[in-house]
Amino acid sequence: MHIDARTLPNGSVLEADLCIVGAGAAGISMALEWIGSRHKVLLLEGGGLDYETAMQDLYRGESVGLPYYPLQAARLHYFGGTTGHWAGFCSTLDPIDFEKREWVPHSGWPIRREELDPFYARAQPLLELGPYEYGAGDWQRRDPTLVPLPLDPHVMWTKMWQFSPPTRFGARYRAAVIGAPNVHLYTHANVCELEANESVRSIEGLRVRTLDGKEHRARARYYVLACCSIQNARLLLASNRRTPTGLGNAYDLVGRFFMEHIEMPTGHLALAPSRAANTKMYALEFGRTKARGELALSAAVQREQRILNATVSLEPGGPDEVAQSTFQWGTPDRLSALRERDAHANAGPPAEPPPARAPLFFHLMTRQEQAPNPASRVLLSTERDALDMPRARLDWRLTALDRRSFHAFYEVMGRELGRSGTGRVKMLDWVTRDEDTWPSTLSGGWHHMGTTRMHENPRLGVVDATCRVHGLGNLYVAGASVYPTGGAANPTLTIVAVSLRLSDHLKRTLA
C-alpha cells in the first residue's frame, strides 16, 4: 500500500516489524523480499513517486574537496532513487577486492566474494540481467563472434559486464510494492533523526518530517538505512541528541572513507588490423549490448605492482579526438533530459547503428577504485535544509596511490597489448607526469561508497559483517556505504546483492 505522508494527521505514529529508510535500489530490493511475509514493513521514501524539485533540493550540499559534481544532481530523491538515471552497467567485485591488501591501507572486507555469489545470482533478475555468468568464455559460448583478445591471463584478463535495460526501480517495481498488503510505502516521508534509547544501545524511533511542516514517528523492531552513502552518513551524524558526534560514531568513522570510482579518459589504443575481429567483444551499443568485456590486470600483477584495481573500456575514437570524462559527459541538463525521456518507460538510451567497419583507434576509459582514505569524508554543513536538517558537506580527497596506479596500469597494459600483438597503448600527458596533481578531467562515476564501512572491529568500521551498526542492536545499513573498498565494478549489482544478504539475515533475526 502507498500513503503520502503529507496526508497523515500531524503526529501520526507508524509502526511495523521492519522499517526501511530510502526506496532506491537497496531499499526496494529489500522490500520486494518481504512481500507476502507475515511481517509488516515500512518503506519510507523522502521524495514522491516522481521527480520534484523541492524534494531534490534536500540533497543539495557543499563540496569542499576535489572538484565534484553538484550533490543534488548526483543522487535522485524519489521512489526508485538514482536508478532513475543510471546507465545499467553491472559487474561483480573481484575476489581480490575483498582481500586485505597490505599495500592498500584500510582494505579488506570481513566477508569473501564466495559468500556474495548466491546473492549476486539472486540480484541478476532484479536488475533484468542475463544469467549469472561473468566469464568471457561464457559469453563467447553464447555468441561465437565475441572473441576476447589473446591476453596472458597471468597479466591481463577480459572482465565481463552485463547491461541492465537499465531497470528504473521506481517504474519497474512500483506496482509490486504498492500492491503488497504488508509493505507500507510512505512517500514524502523524510527521516530527520534516528532516536536512540537512553543507553544508546538501540533505536526507539524515527522522526519523520514533511515539507508542509508535519512531523510523524516511525517505530519498528529493526531499522535499515538505505538512503545512499552521503545521506546515510548525514542522518547518522545529524542524530546527535544522545551523543554529540552522532550515532554509530564512537570512533569518528561515520562519513569517513568516502570513495568514488575514478573514471577518466586515460589513453588511446592503436589496434593491430589483425585484431579487428576482436573488437565486438569490447563494443557497447546502448540499449542493445547484453554483455561486453573490459580490460583488467590480474590479481598477481596488482600485487606485484602494489596498485589498485581498475578496468579499461575501449571507446572508438582517435588520438586527435578529445574524449569526455564521466562528469563532462553527464551534465545536469543531459541527465535531466535522460530522466525526462524515460520517466515512464523502462527503456535505455536509443540504440546507435553499428559502425560500418571495426575501428582501429580507441579511447581508453579507465574506471579505477579509490584507495580508502579517512580524510575523504562526508561531514555536516552549517547550512540547513528546508526540514531544518544540516546539509551534507563533501570533502573528496585522493591519495598518491590513486595517482600512481593509473601509470602502472597503463605501462603493464601497454606491454601486454604489445606482446600479444594487440596494438600499442598511448597514455595521456597527465598520466605520464610524475606528480600528485590531477588534471581538469578528474571525474568520478557518480558512485558514492564507504561512509559507513564494514569491519568486524568497531574501532575500524561502522557496521559489522551483517551490516548492523556497531553498538546499536537494531540498526542496519544497506547500500554502498558499507563497502570497505569499491573495486572497479559499478556498485549497483553489489548494492542489490548485499541488500539481499541483509534481508536474509533480518528474516532469520525476526523469525
Binding site: A272, R415, E416, G418, R424, K426, M427, T432
Partner: protein, 121 residues
C-alpha cells in the same frame, strides 16, 4: 617522393658514413637499414607519431644519436636468426619498453623510430 623511396635515398647517404663493424657487418646492410627504419609502428600510428617518438628517444639517449650507432644497437640486440618483429615481441615480453610521447613502445621500436627520424631529418 614516397616515404620508402625517400628513406632509400637517405639511407644511401647515411650508409656512406657507416664505419667499422656496422658497415662490414653485412652485404645487405642497406636493406637492413631500410628495414630497420620502417618499424611496424608506422602502420599502426603513422609517420608523424613515429617521428616524434624517435626524436624523443634521441633526446633521452644522445649517445645513440647517429645512424650507425643506432643501427648497430638494434642489430646487436637481435638474437639470430630472430626477426626484428620477434625482437620487438621479446622486448614486450621481458618489459624492455619505454614510454615515449605517451606511447608504450619496445626499446627496439624506439630505436627504429629514432632511425626513422634520423633518416627523415
Amino acid at each position: 617522393m614516397n616515404r620508402r623511396r625517400f628513406l632509400g635515398v637517405s639511407a644511401a647517404g647515411a650508409l656512406a658514413g657507416l664505419t667499422g663493424s656496422a658497415r662490414g657487418a653485412s652485404a645487405n646492410a642497406a636493406i637492413d637499414l631500410l628495414t630497420l627504419a620502417q618499424p611496424d609502428l608506422l602502420s599502426l600510428i603513422g609517420p608523424q607519431a613515429v617521428r616524434k617518438i624517435g626524436l624523443r628517444y634521441r633526446a633521452l639517449v644522445p649517445s645513440e644519436n647517429e645512424v650507425h650507432v643506432m643501427y648497430t644497437a638494434i642489430l646487436a640486440a637481435r638474437p639470430r636468426p630472430s626477426s626484428i618483429a620477434g625482437l620487438v615481441e621479446q622486448d614486450f615480453a621481458v618489459g624492455r619498453t619505454m614510454v615515449l610521447q605517451g606511447w608504450v613502445v619496445s626499446v627496439t621500436e624506439a630505436r627504429q623510430s629514432a632511425l626513422f627520424s634520423l633518416l627523415s631529418d
